[in-house]
Each structure stands twice: as structure tokens, then as C-alpha cells.
């Protein structure tokens, strides 16, 4: 398995650390309430198909990445810097 780091290029999976669902980027407001925080901290989708995940290129440039991966085929369809994804989210909100 290889991941195309936007900075480093195509690299072996061993250089990366897997964190989990990219929903971690959508942090609720401090006063969003118990349900929103419970959802953010504990509840995750478990799709058979396309999902967005956070990976870190810790054995490379150190950047956090949003990786779009199909959990059935393991095909990776997109990789973006988490920094850019988060900036776009801020702009949109």
C-alpha cells in the first residue's frame, strides 16, 4: 500500500501513522452541548466503502493528511494536506 503525500510524493505505507476518521477536524464549539461532544469524541461511522481518514506522514515531512480510502478495495482516491482541508472548512462556515 502506498500513499501519495502532497509534499513528498508516493511513499510506502510504513512511513505513515493512522489516526482515524477525519471527523476530528470538525471540532464542535465548546458550548455545542453533550450530544454533539459525545458524537465527536466517541461515535464513528463504519462504512463499507469510501471514507475520509487522518494519516500523518510521521516518517516523512510530518504533515497531517486527509486520505480518502475505500475500505472494501483499499483504493485511495484522494490525499490532501489537513491544513488545506481545515482552511477550506473555515472558509465555508
Amino acid at each position: 500500500m502506498r500513499i501519495d503525500c502532497p509534499m513528498c510524493g508516493s511513499r510506502d505505507r510504513r512511513e505513515y501513522y493512522y489516526q482515524g476518521g477525519a471527523v476530528m477536524l470538525a471540532r464542535p464549539a465548546p458550548d455545542a452541548g453533550e450530544a454533539a461532544w459525545d458524537d465527536y469524541l466517541h461515535l464513528r461511522e463504519n462504512p463499507a466503502g469510501e471514507t475520509e481518514e487522518l494519516w500523518q506522514h510521521d516518517g516523512g515531512c510530518g504533515a497531517w493528511l486527509v486520505v480518502t480510502r475505500d475500505t472494501v478495495s483499499h483504493e485511495i482516491s484522494n490525499v490532501a494536506l489537513a491544513e488545506d482541508v481545515k482552511r477550506a472548512m473555515r472558509k465555508a462556515s
Binding site: 513528498c8 510524493g9 511513499r11 510506502d12 510504513r14 510521521d58 516518517g59 515531512c61 510530518g62 504533515a63
Partner: protein, 180 residues
């Protein structure tokens, strides 16, 4: 007063020559981590004026022996050689890391074959030319590898891992050398 004796990270371990490849420690002078405040253009200009090397693009290095700047990760570069001009601190974070890294050179025909056994990146000349640099791993150690010339690479790992680096490289050098 206690007299402190400076010991280099690979003291007593190097040099080693096996077959056509030699591993040796490099005394490269000062190591300074640079991280720009925002855009790197001001830092690049200050760097060029003071040390004759510009801000490197990802996976590239600039300058030469005695004043080299290598890309060192996302929004980070490492100035190798000179004591940093204090004017750089206006444009970015300037952090001395001179004692934090073990720096070795691997040179001679077959040097790339040695690293091919330890590093998951293609370092042959066709893909990785003089002046190219990568952040990657040597076995399980996070490393920085820069090509100084054909069959001539500079490898850096955290100082605490100097012994492991020499051990792993020595094993790979012996394996390559035994193939003749």
C-alpha cells in the same frame, strides 16, 4: 573544575569500509532548524544575503559545503554549516540543533544498493539526483537523506540513534559487499 570532553555522536564507531563503500562521520558544523513565519520569501531573501543559499523547495537542497540548506519537513529547513545570522530570526523560528543529530556520509560504488536494503525510497540517480533530499526512514529510524553526488549520500538521524544507524548500515554494507 570538571573538564568536559566533547564526543561526536559516532565516536569510536566510524569509519567503516566494506567492499567498495565507506561509511564515515561528517563534521558539518552548525545545524540550525528554520521555520518561516508565514510565507518563506522573506526568510529566503535573508538566507541568501547572509549565507548564499535560498529557501529550498520540498525534497530539494540549496547551497554547497559550508553553507547548505536542506528541506527538512513541512515548513522546515535545516541550515548546515555556518552559525546562523541573527537577522534570520526576524522572518522565522531559528533553533540550534547542532548536538541533536548524527550525520554520516555513505560513499562509493554501491552506496545506493546499501540504502536500498534499508530505505523505502528510490535513491538511484535516475529518480534522486545531486541536491535532492528526502525525509524518510532508515529501517525504523526517521531520517534525512541528501544526495551530495553519485554514490555519495549524507544521512542524518537523531543523535540518540547513532549506534543503531551504524549497526544497520554496517549489516547492509556487509550484505552488499558479500555479493561481490
Amino acid at each position: 573544575m570538571v573538564e568536559l570532553i566533547q564526543i561526536s555522536p559516532c565516536a569510536g564507531l566510524l569509519p567503516i569500509t566494506l567492499g567498495s563503500v565507506t561509511l564515515d562521520e561528517q563534521d558539518v558544523g552548525r545545524l540550525t532548524s528554520l521555520s518561516p513565519f508565514g510565507d518563506a520569501s522573506d526568510l529566503s531573501a535573508a538566507l541568501e544575503k547572509a549565507h548564499g543559499c535560498t529557501w529550498p523547495k520540498p525534497n530539494r537542497s540549496t547551497g554547497k559545503d559550508g553553507g547548505r540548506c536542506i528541506w527538512f519537513g513541512r515548513d522546515e529547513a535545516l541550515l548546515i554549516g555556518p552559525a546562523p545570522d541573527m537577522g534570520l530570526a526576524k522572518h522565522g523560528a531559528v533553533v540550534d540543533q547542532s548536538d541533536a543529530w548524527a550525520v554520516v556520509s555513505l560513499a562509493g560504488p554501491g552506496a545506493v544498493d546499501v540504502l536500498a536494503r534499508l530505505v523505502p525510497v528510490d535513491l538511484r540517480d535516475a529518480a534522486f539526483k545531486r541536491g535532492h533530499t528526502v525525509r524518510t526512514q532508515v529501517m525504523h529510524m526517521n531520517a534525512s537523506i541528501t544526495k551530495l553526488g553519485t554514490d555519495h549520500l549524507m544521512i542524518m538521524v537523531f543523535r540518540s540513534m547513532a549506534g543503531t544507524l551504524v549497526y544497520d548500515l554496517k549489516g547492509a554494507m556487509a550484505a552488499v559487499a558479500s555479493r561481490g
